[in-house]
């Protein structure tokens, strides 16, 4: 493997490229991919013993910018997607821990994905990009952790699809992880979760601009926006939508008796869709939804949580009461699987009315648990 490490760019990202020569990254689908670039950001200082590193795994459409870099200029200093949790003195304390967050393989936020240039054709991969899995994403992350010369991570932490990666880390590299915090996640997608993902994919593929993934500078914006609207509904909850919007009308006194947006919830979804189109690639969304649908750590074979008996990993599993995408019963199933193997697992369901998105919002109980759990792991050397 050839390694090239770039400088920190204006958004605070660093880049790690491997597999430019030689076989590249071996994928679950059987093919190989190279070169592979991962965009990542780091916070805090790696200890001399290299034993204080925490890998944060982002969800579905997230990126490496988990928190701001106050010392850096420009976009790097902007708040990150988990600003409430990560930073000096916060629950994931960057004065104490060395935090790494990397954009996932298949995404479009700096790491290699379907919109990257295919070295064979000098054009974007499009559908020529291989279908990647959560296991492949983690395999690529492991190459980065090897490159950073970290033999054992203090913790892997992630919510939603990030939680899947955290679990996958434990299964794929049990001796490289001391603790894991899977939040608002599942061991496998339910039929309902797959169904919503399929609707999102169909929305993109039904947009004529999608053009079998070869859309160049004219992406299928309508399809992608609809896909995001669907996703967004699954991240909220009945209570949250009632509280935020109810049946209030948007900028009008009565119904339009047209198909314009009448309700606030409609214009909110349109806004979410439009905003998303500016920052996300349609093909990436197809690949990432597929990876989440394929993910399954149940069962008793090598690739399952049930094969972790010998691992010395501490788990903190957290779910949220109003999360109907990955409801609490799915977290409990995970807890049962870990308990049956005699693993050290803590679990708590947090009361929150914001649905699946609750893990991203400020929550004192969540912060206290994460802080206390990490402290317990770090102190038990």
């Amino acid at each position: 493997m050839q390694i090239r490490v770039g400088e920190v760019d204006e958004s605070g990202r660093k880049y790690f490229t491997f597999g430019a020569h030689g076989p590249g990254l071996e994928l679950d689908c059987g093919s190989r991919l190279g070169p592979v670039t991962l965009a990542y950001e780091t916070y805090g200082r790696l200890s001399a013993a290299r034993d204080n590193a925490i890998l944060i795994l982002h969800a579905f459409t997230g990126d490496s910018h988990v928190a701001s870099h106050p010392g850096l200029p420009g976009a790097a200093a902007l708040p990150g997607w988990w600003e409430t949790m990560v930073g000096p003195g916060k629950a994931i304390d960057t004065d104490r821990y060395y935090v790494i967050c990397t954009n996932i393989l298949g995404s479009c936020r700096g790491s290699t994905g379907p919109c990257s240039l295919n070295p064979a054709t000098k054009a974007p991969y499009g559908l020529a990009f291989p279908v990647v899995t959560i296991g492949d994403m983690v395999r690529a992350q492991k190459a980065l952790i090897d490159h950073l010369e970290i033999s054992k991570l203090l913790a892997v932490i992630g919510g939603s699809v990030g939680g899947m990666q955290a679990l996958q880390w434990c299964v794929s590299y049990p001796h490289r992880v001391r603790a894991a915090i899977p939040l608002a996640t599942t061991m496998r997608h339910s039929a309902q979760a797959i169904a919503f993902n399929e609707i999102a994919r169909q929305a993109i593929m039904a947009d004529p601009k999608w053009n079998m993934g070869e859309y160049g500078d004219t992406p299928p914006e309508l399809g992608l926006a609809v896909a995001r609207m669907i996703g967004h509904v699954t991240y909220l909850s009945d209570q949250a939508m009632r509280r935020k919007f109810g049946r209030r009308l948007q900028g009008r006194q009565g119904f339009s008796f047209h198909f314009e947006s009448d309700f606030q919830v409609e214009s909110y979804l349109h806004h979410q869709g439009t905003k998303f189109v500016r920052r996300f690639d349609a093909n990436s969304l197809l690949y990432l939804t597929k990876a989440a649908d394929y993910f399954d750590l149940t069962g008793s074979d090598q690739g399952s949580l049930g094969a972790l008996a010998d691992a010395d990993i501490r788990f903190l599993v957290i779910s949220f009461t109003s999360d109907w995408l990955y409801p609490t019963y799915q977290s409990r199933e995970m807890v049962h699987a870990l308990k049956r193997e005699g693993l050290d697992v803590s679990f708590c369901e947090i009361e929150a009315d914001c649905g699946h998105d609750a893990f991203l919002l400020e929550n004192e109980r969540l912060a206290n648990m994460v802080r206390g759990f990490l402290g317990g792991v770090a102190n038990n050397g």
Partner: protein, 206 residues
Amino acid sequence: MAEQGMRFDLQVISSWIEPGSRVLDLGCGRGDLLAFLQSQKNVRGVGIEADREKAASCISRGLSVLQENFNEEVLDYPANHFDYVILSQTLQQVYRPEELIRSLLVIGRKVIVSFPNFSHWRGRLQLLFTGTAPKNEHLPYEWYTTPNIRVIAMKDFRKFIAQINAEIVREVAINSHHHQYKGNIIHFLPDWRATYGIFLVRAQSE
């Protein structure tokens, strides 16, 4: 000493636990016993607590705790996974005590059970002379507000343990109030004078 900040029955229980053992604490509350055992006896402890706020406060202090209803959750552990399973002041609230104690004897080598002794003399006299159900400082409820659905006398418990083919290894009767840090051990007429009974039970050796 931290031990003095702990309920008296928990002090007695912790004195029974061998250093370095594996402990499961059912209904662990805010984790006072677990934290004590972990720091003073180097115990590997796990707690189960149904209340979200209490479970979260345990996890926030770095303890391994599951926010669950233990009646169902104890079934998931491998046999003899724990050296001790502790059920303190909770048995009187359990819907299926026999099933539960049997499960505990499978997952733990030893089971420590403590409960309020309903055969205390004050309760007996109250029923005899006033004709009303006993109500006092350590059982301060009306019949319609009490969480205690099982009325257990220490004698009943001994009989029950013999019936399920288990054995009592150790037994202590104490006199203390529900949340008190101080108390004393009763040697004379324990069934009459104890407010709480604490028992160390194990499955009968073949």
